[in-house]
Amino acid sequence: MSEKGGTVNKLFAAGAMTLAVALALSACSSNTPSGSQSSAPASGGKQKVSFLVFPSPNLPESYWKAQVDLVTKANPDLEVELVAAPSESERNDYAKQLAASGQLPDVQIGMQDLIALEPSLATWTPEELKDFLCPTCGAVNGKILQLPTNTQTIPNVYYSKKLFQKAGIAEPPKTYADLLADAEKLKAKGITPFVTGGVFVTSQPWTAILATDLYAKTPDWMTKRRGGEVKFATDPAMKAATQKFTDLATKGYLDKRQIGQDYPKTQEAFLGGKGAMYPMGSWFAAAADASSMKDDIGVFAWPGDDGALHMPTFTGGGLSVSATAKNMAAAKKFALAFQLTKENLDASVKADALFPAIKGYTPPSDTGPVFKAVYDLWQKALNEKATVPAFSWEAGDTAMLPGMQGKFWSTAQDLVSGKKTVDQALAFLDTEWEKSG
């Protein structure tokens, strides 16, 4: 009996040890990448592809589902699993975390930090890019990692015609001096001249001033900064432009109380008439056209000192494919189909006011008045060869170093709140740049 008990004890101990080791090993081992799993052939001969999207005020989850359905209907061999990023502004950080842990979905949309993600993304070939207007846009070390599907102008200045009228302003400003004069008139009437808020929205006037005052003269400024030829703190044009931006806050044209509100609330504030002007990307046209005040909203390009047109633009933002997608062919097939399907492009125009940079594409005729105005402004800039890069929105080799975009945006908040002087802010950006390098 005792001998039997000892054996049972040993067996029990051995079983427990085996269980412990199994548990420990499972705890120690990394997860199988979900992206890799999902690209395996699904049941019924379908190829399963996972797709990272970002829900936003303009693009709710229902939008993404409908667009994917259009592609899968035309390509019944594809089955797509949607993965939603926590928010629009955090989609890049989320993607990097997934990539770092080997879980990057097969296909992603709108990745901005392509330099950091370079090892995790597949390269597009010239043949695959033949339908795109700018097949070299956003290259990283000469490689195209993201389909250059859309152009966006960042920012335009949306304004309320009613509030302009109330302040006695007959027409949009043509020069920077006009803009300041109009802002003063609005302020005198108790109207907040510019609606601002959150991190990237606060930086929009700064991006606008850098377009007219810096990029118009030095379009390769960021490349020079990457090469160490210029610095934020010592470049006179950068310093002067930043001073102009800071003066907008000092004069009370930017309300520092608004910098704590998030992006949807900021958009809501402009559409609710809480300010006369809203410097924002072309995508806002979609929300403007969907609002009840669409006929009250006008658009103009941020004016420079001489009144010449300099429109900040960005081309890229399309789909990218994970370098570790097991079924690369299916992932690329889905990505290209998603980007080149006419109905999908039309939907992106209507929902997010994108300007598809696809050969032969023309937007649908039933777009709203704000979209038409923004689109015409971009066409005018194209015709006049007046497009410049949008500061902090550049892509690939001409972009800021990883992590710097967020630093630039939060520095804008420091300048508006008065927490940092121009010199302190620019020195801070240089310090952070060196760290990122």
């Binding site: 005792s2 101990a13 269980l19 109380r257 927490k419 940092k420 760290k435």
Partner: protein, 316 residues
Amino acid sequence: MAAGTTIHHHKPGHAQAGVRWRRPGGKGAGLWHFLSFAAPGTLIYFCLVVLPITLSFGYSLTDQALLRPKTHFVGLRNYQLLLQDETFLQSLRVTTILTLIVVIVPNVLGVAIAVLLDRRGWLYNALRSVFFTPMVISSVVISVIWTRILADDGPINQGLRALGVSEPPGWLSDPDIALYSLSSIVCWQMLGFCVVVYLAGLQGVPQELAEAAAIDGAGPARRFWSVTWPLLAPALTINTVVLLISAFKIFDHVKVITNGGPGTGTTASVALVILQEGFVENRTGYASAEAVVMLIVIALLSVITLRVLQRREVQL
């Protein structure tokens, strides 16, 4: 029965010299038995705690970036850079201020509320639940609710405007106020925990001591400071150490309410900066060095606090 095993019969209270009590199965079986119970927990603890800490320390000596294939050994360079890194030093300042507020305010208010609630009756039971409720709600939910309440067009500022305050404070948008708003939210959530721990401590204070002090002529304040408060020392120790650790590693409230802003790092805690360095800026080695420093600071503060507070604990 295993060969060579000797059984010694033993009656409690009748132990004799030379008689040894041995477990069935001998020494080897005892060891196996011990290991079978200890191994699962030990291995899981090793994999989920010891191994990550050791790996973090190892990474902190490299320039590792998770999205970059090559990693190089850099020795203590990350630690040297930390000492000059204004972002990290600012996060240490922010976290220290937040920790001080979160350790002091809920402790002071907690003991006061616990004394008021240390009575019998349905109303006091209900109030205890009310005070403890924020503690059981998710920090993210709490943060979202307070973000709405403290917004410029939220109920507090609307109320102030109704009272004639034309420019109410920007609770979360003013860089000089945001950290204190954030700290207040954390204090509000942690208050219930402190109240419950102090209430438990008050239950353990013998009534005779207070009665004896009253007979000797001590008033309510004197009775509290001379009798109750010294006996609440263990509760103070628990609250202080728990609040200190929770506040120093705070992340979720900061992420949801301010994301470290407004501006650069005005409310960024060390944990938030570690996450940003590691996953946003893709500098895992450097972020690991920050994490190691945070671990050391928390460990040191906890040990010192425990030693100091345990010294004033009294035994009845």
